[in-house]
Each structure stands twice: as C-alpha cells, then as structure tokens.
C-alpha cells in the first residue's frame, strides 16, 4: 500500500476507532469482545480497500462494525434479570441517591434482556452520533420500522421499570 494511503488509513483509525468501539460495545456488551470487533472491522476495511470510497464515513463504519459484532454475538439471549437492588422509587431520597450509582447499571441489565430486534435500534439511536436515518441504514431497515421498534423498546423498558419500582407500594 502506498504511504499516502497508509497515512489516510491511520488517520481514519485515529478518528473513528472510539466511535466504532462504542457501536461494537453497544451490541456485544463486553469490552474485550468489542475491541476485537473493532480490530476486525478495520482489518476488513484495510484488506478490501473499501475505506477509500466512503460517502457517509460514520454510517459505513457503524454498519461494518455492527455486522462484525452481530456475528460475534452469542446465540443465546439473556433471560430476565434478577435485580439485586432494592425496589426503587423515583422520589429522590438520600438512601436512593446512595444507590443511584447502581441504578443505571440495573437499567442496562434490563435493556440487555430486550429482544435484539428492539435492543439494537434503541442503543444505536441513543448514540449522539447517529440519527434514525443512519440507524436505519446500519440495520438495513426502513426508517419507519426503526422508529417503531425504538418506541416499542422504550415502552417495554418503562413497563419493566415501573413494575420494578412499584413493587413496594403493591404490598
């Protein structure tokens, strides 16, 4: 490969490796697996020389990374999580503020239990760099389908969260 091309490729890696890592991590939920997926993504681009003629750089990289990550995704879907936190209330209290650090990780685990067809549009759309049109491009779906799936995923998440938080009041 010509030195100029090598320099351009190195610049591309330096510019987008973090973003590609986030896409891979959103799918795989494991740092090492995501890093391997990032490396495989860039190696594919380097071997095929496809990176030279990219129109939408982010969307193209995200789609390649998504394909690599989905191939590495374990076939078995996670089952419902057993929440190890206390039932949560939305009313801020010192006690709940103390456990707020674990709140996000609990919601992350609930997100992990979503079906992949709902989880992937949701987490990709949550990335600031990607709008719904680009998510549709990555997933090779119509934009309307992506929006519908995101809405369904959010509804399911909110139902699970509400059930989890309202448990103490149901007693």
């Amino acid at each position: 490969m010509v030195n100029k091309d090598v320099a351009e490729f190195e610049a591309l890696v330096a510019r987008q490796s973090h973003f590609v890592f986030r896409v891979a991590y959103a799918i795989l939920r494991n740092r090492h697996d995501a890093e391997d997926a990032v490396q495989e993504t860039f190696l594919k681009l380097y071997r095929n020389h496809t990176w030279k003629a990219i129109e939408n750089e982010r969307a193209f990289l995200a789609r390649t990374a998504w394909r690599v990550a989905v191939d590495r995704l374990p076939k078995q879907q996670p089952t419902d999580v057993e929440l190890d936190h206390e039932p949560l209330s939305l009313t801020p209290s010192p006690e709940q503020q103390a456990i707020s650090a674990g709140l996000h990780s609990t919601i992350h685990r609930i997100i992990d239990t979503l079906p992949e067809e709902l989880r992937q549009p949701l987490v990709l759309s949550a990335m600031d760099e990607l709008n719904s049109r680009e998510v549709a491009l990555i997933l090779d779906l119509p934009e309307g389908t992506v929006r519908t799936r995101i809405m369904r995923a959010r509804q399911m998440l909110k139902q699970k969260l509400a059930t989890t938080m309202e448990k103490p009041y149901a007693r």
């Binding site: 490969m1 490796s17 991590y25 995501a34 709140l103 992350h108 990335m127 909110k158 509400a162």
Partner: protein
C-alpha cells in the same frame, strides 16, 4: 398513587440517562496502535492466495497416489479365464460318461500334465474402440491348453478314445428318422338339436 403522566415522564428521563451511559465506556488504552500494528502485520504477511487452490490440489494428488499404490498389482492369468469363456461361448463336443471314465483310468504316465482350473467370475472387459469389428459374434476363441490336451487325449490309440472320436466326428448311423404315417380320425356324428327326443319348453 403517583400521577401517571408524571411517572411516565420521569421514566423517560431515567431511561435517557441510562441509555446515554449504555455504550460509553472507554476502550482500553492503546486500541488504535494495536489496530495499526495489525494492519502492518497484514502488509508484512499478505494472505497467501495460492493456498486456496494448492491445498485441494495437493490433497487430490495424494489421494490418487494412495489409490494407485493400494491397487492390486497381480494380473489375472489369461490362460485360466479363456477356457471358461470359450467353453461357454463355443459349442464343444462333450465326451460321454464312458469316455470320461476311460480318461480317469488312463495310466498316470500317459496323462498330459494337469493344470488346476480355477473358476473365476467372468469379468466384462471393455473393448477398446480401436479394435476391428468382427464378422462373427461372439468371436471364436482358439482352443486353450487344456482343451488341446483333451483333444490329444481323445485322439490317442485307446479303443475307447477311438470310439469317442468317431462319435464326435461322425454322425450316428444307427439313428434314423422314424416313418411318419398320416393320422386317421373317425367321423364324428353330431345329432341335430331339434330332434323329437328333446322336448322344447
């Protein structure tokens, strides 16, 4: 009881905050240099494309070699198969039981050297297209060694063998065709159906 829309809005906020941190962990330091090192390794050791066809070709050559090595190398003796085939195709004179008996009683020193005939399954040998077309089918096959020895034995001077040779070479004079006489069949008399003895209903 909490207000329903209020709870829904708070859940949205909570969800957005959780989603924002869902895929934002930092990669371990040195990811970019590792990717570049991997691409440089690809440049140093480009994928060997000829192996894609060289390995199957080598496997095929090995397979053919093994097949040729393990192929049975002892050819079948043609003299053991030809009499079997010739006997089945050519109408040979079969010696009567008496002559067979006389062959058995021939002194050992007068007998021709015996060869052991092994019965083998006749194999269909594909004919080469270069062979000329024969006028007679099946192609007459010359007498084999055993058959020649049998003919020589029959032609010896023993009285039984002479008689056998005459039976083979000359037609039997005592066998004459029987005279055929014309057949005579007596006339058949069929009574009429409307005779007075048979009453109509």
């Amino acid at each position: 009881m909490r207000d329903e829309p209020m709870q829904d809005r708070e859940l949205d906020i909570l969800l957005d905050a959780a989603l924002a941190t869902y895929s934002n962990p930092e990669p371990s330091p040195g990811l970019t240099p590792r990717i570049l090192a991997a691409t440089q390794a690809v440049d140093r050791h480009p994928p060997v494309r000829w192996m894609a066809w060289a390995i199957p070709a080598l496997a095929a050559v090995l397979f053919i070699t093994i097949v040729l090595i393990h192929r049975p190398t002892t050819p079948r003796a043609p003299s053991q198969q030809v009499p079997e085939l010739s006997a089945s195709r050519r109408p040979a004179p079969s010696p009567p039981a008496a002559s067979r008996h006389s062959v058995v009683e021939t002194p050992r020193h007068l007998r021709p050297p015996q060869t052991v005939i092994t019965r083998s399954i006749p194999t269909v040998v594909p004919m080469s297209p270069s062979l000329p077309r024969q006028d007679v089918f099946p192609t007459p096959i010359p007498l084999g060694r055993e058959e020649q020895a049998l003919v020589a034995l029959v032609n010896r001077d023993s009285p039984d063998s002479k008689e056998l040779a005459q039976q083979i070479t000359q037609p039997d004079a005592q066998v004459r065709p029987l005279p055929i006489e014309p057949l005579r069949i007596a006339a058949i008399h069929i009574p009429p159906l409307n005779s007075p003895d048979n009453g109509d209903n």
